[in-house]
Symmetry: C3
Subunit: 160 residues, 3 copies
């Protein structure tokens, strides 16, 4: 049996536009038969947070960080033209008009196509996030060594 | 005949400093004999927009987006120290002083060295951009699958 | 003798969070036996600037740029939630709590593990930085062709 070509995407950014780019590339790769792993670190973890409920974290600073930094696929802003929500709202409206899937739909779609969504252990520790902070599509937490091991076997590696 | 080594650069950002970095790397690669493809998506499309004339786009929101987001190699700002234009002006002045080519010159140079400049079809659709929105050096619009097909054959792939 | 697998990291950004991500990946790679080169350009050069003393640069504009843009591992801000220093202070506090090394410690550690820290010649020229602007762990300045030559021999190339 031939092995699938691999792609590894490190997702550092938690903005709506960068998240869309990452998931469009990931689902395109999966549809081309690639074995795709996405590794989420720093603000990228926000993309994977649950949309519902409130996050529990220990210590006043982590509580503050997780409130300011609430996350969830439906709450992300754009890196440009956010304009107190106006630009982000407009972008979502335009996406609907051209029948582009929303970020929420892209995440579900990626998961169902076999794309693996992996949170970075170091930044989870830093930000006080545990596995139950994330949506059900997410894999167990893993470290930077896991990311690099995948990356060095990959035909394509991106850092977004 | 030996095939040339490939490099693929995904250009997401539309800021002057990131655009300069992308085109310096692209022209350096071309001068080393590499076959270089640059794939422009989201704000990166601004780099390829015509400097002259006005863009036509359908619908009030796309019109607004393309006004706020005018683009063209001569209108981009920096990601840092833009300072209402002062920092961007200073950067251009410093570039002239050390005889570094401007972004406009780098684009023309890249094209004449065989670097291919390709707009991403999904974001063109989203932002209401057609092929006549772009400068003459630009190739036909292509999709994410084209980007990934090039990337997986490349020795170097960057996402900027 | 078997050759080591290579990793090349282009560091464009000078923010604390992106610098941490770059150095965590670099030291992880080195600990896995990889030969790691980090190539610093534009704002990434700030990470390598000396923490002590003042920078000398010629011309009023470069002097201004280097004051606004002071750099040094201990002075960097975050790309998000800087909040006039509050967020950056909080992040450093959280890092201490989980016993994560500081950026300063990561730089020293990376150097002692054999990671090479290389400033980009073009942007050094642009910003009026000479080799004595940088901390002692830094290698001689090199150009974009050096970066690409390393990248095309690398198993993993990232642009951060």
């Amino acid at each position: 049996m031939e092995e699938k070509e691999k792609m590894t995407i490190g997702v550092f950014s938690g903005e709506l536009d960068k998240a869309l780019a990452a998931f469009i590339i990931a689902t395109t790769g999966a549809s081309m038969g690639m074995d795709v792993k996405m590794f989420f670190t720093f603000w990228g973890l926000n993309i994977l947070k649950k949309n519902e409920g409130s996050l529990k974290s220990k210590g006043i600073m982590r509580k503050m960080l997780n409130i300011m930094n609430r996350g969830g696929s439906k709450r992300l802003n754009m890196s440009k033209f956010h304009m107190s929500g106006m630009g982000t709202w407009m972008m979502k409206k335009l996406m609907k008009e051209v029948k582009m899937p929303s970020l929420e739909e892209l995440i579900v779609m990626a998961h169902s196509m076999g794309v693996k969504l992996i949170p970075c252990s170091t930044t989870c520790g830093l930000m006080g996030l545990a596995e139950d902070s994330f949506r059900p599509e997410v894999e167990p937490i893993a470290g930077a060594a896991y990311f690099l091991n995948e990356a060095r076997e990959s035909k394509v590696t991106l850092f977004i």
